[in-house]
Amino acid sequence: MLSVRNLKRLSIGPIDLDVAGGEIIALTGPSGAGKSLLLRAIADLDPNEGDLSLLGNDRDAMDAPDWRKQVMYVPAHTGWWADTVEPHFAGLERARVKDTLHRLNLESTALGWQIANLSTGERQRLALARALAHAPKILLLDEPTSGLDSDNAARAEKLITDIAQDGAGIVFVTHDAAQAERLGTRRLYFYGGGLHEVAP
């Protein structure tokens, strides 16, 4: 579904990567190796070069916002542009938003919450919900469960698996080897600016 060829940016690459629908790729590697930068480059958030396509459509032929709606990056620590939760879900189908919130153990009253009062875990789950509610084809998740307790981490993992089963392709960065093994249908190790396959 997602094809990455010859992707290069400062200190990274050239990288080749294919992500199929339903696939969950666990990306591990030492801190500072550039895993987040790789995800950002795929989402076209930083200057980079390479031939990328989604379902045969070239990234260069698409407007960047269109590309990012379908190849969605969720940073480990995201920002909020309004004081309450609701405006961050504006324009999205209500039922889908509620369902996503529910699956992440968040009540639908969460939409009225003040951002300033949210815990790290709540922010993390809401950021995930905000991205999932857009139904992207590819999800690039940067440490999606790092701020969560074990119960909520398990819920998030379940949701990630469900979404892959619905046909989305997922690449997620983790420092937890057990999680990589548990969740990943394929494991990659990022080191020295390049990707290395981890044997199953």
Partner: protein, 267 residues
């Protein structure tokens, strides 16, 4: 003219300088360490103003469009440098200076020429006695608006990077994502002139009007000039700040709707 213009002698200036000595004395007594800076600043103001007085005297006698134009260009380039010097975060590659100078030339130039050819109408229209002081006032105010607007935008985009990128990753355009901060920067740039217009006459008597009154002009005439100037300043500051803020915002993004903070460098 209704009053009498009182000419100042060097003795009068010497008397006024006693106040400066008083300020220096206070600095020494209170251990503020400002006496040297005060002395240098006083010396600079004396030398700079004396020199500009001589230059203006020559220019006023020449009434040449070329020399007036050259003086105007020098003023604009210096104003551009002043804007850049006030930025704590600058665009790399001389872009801050280019943007500021272009905005100053366009806004200051258009409004000054418009005022000279429609409202004030000296003969000839480029008469430096009118053109240069007018341009100077435009530049002084516009450079404040431009530098405040540019600085506020750069600082805010840097501070709100996560919030802006949170919108970009969801497929919002960069324009939508930065719009609130562009608006905030514009407001910051225009606030000083709005405050100046609101306070004029009540809290402060604007400098130009005060100068005219001291020079013997009828206060009601001086007021008319001042209102004209205030409107011109509001116009030129709005145009200049809008241009500079939009250009800075454009430079801090690219054609792929990215936020390009790598194009900023701290002073």
């Amino acid at each position: 003219m209704t009053g009498v213009y009182v000419q100042l002698g060097y003795i009068d200036l010497a008397i006024a300088s006693v106040l400066l000595l008083l300020a220096g004395g206070l600095s020494v007594a209170l251990n503020l360490g400002l006496e040297k800076s005060l002395g240098i600043a006083a010396l600079r103001t004396t030398v700079q103003l004396t020199l500009i007085g001589l230059v203006l005297k020559i220019l006023f006698e020449l009434v040449s469009p070329w020399w007036t134009g050259l003086a105007a260009l020098t003023m604009i380039l210096l104003a551009g440098r002043e804007v850049t010097a006030r930025q704590n975060l600058r665009l790399r590659g001389g872009w801050s200076y280019s943007i500021a100078t272009t905005a100053l030339i366009t806004a200051g130039g258009i409004v000054t020429i418009l005022a000279l050819t429609t409202a004030i109408r000296p003969e000839p229209w480029y008469d430096p006695r009118f053109a240069l002081p007018l341009l100077g006032m435009m530049l002084g105010n516009t450079l404040t608006g431009i530098s405040v607007g540019m600085e506020r935008l750069s600082a805010t985009l840097k501070r709100e990077k996560d919030a802006i990128e949170a919108r970009l990753v969801l497929g919002h355009t960069r324009r939508d994502a930065v719009r609130p901060y562009v608006r905030e920067a514009m407001r910051a740039g225009l606030m000083p002139i709005i405050n100046a217009m609101s306070a004029a006459g009540l809290i402060s008597l604007p400098g130009m009007m005060t100068g005219q009154i001291l020079a013997g002009v009828d206060p009601t005439e001086a007021v008319k000039y001042q209102i004209l100037i205030m409107f011109l300043l509001a116009g030129t500051t709005s145009i200049g700040a809008l241009m500079a803020v939009l250009a800075t915002s454009w430079r801090l993004g690219d054609e792929r709707d990215r936020l390009r903070l790598d194009r900023l460098r701290a002073r």
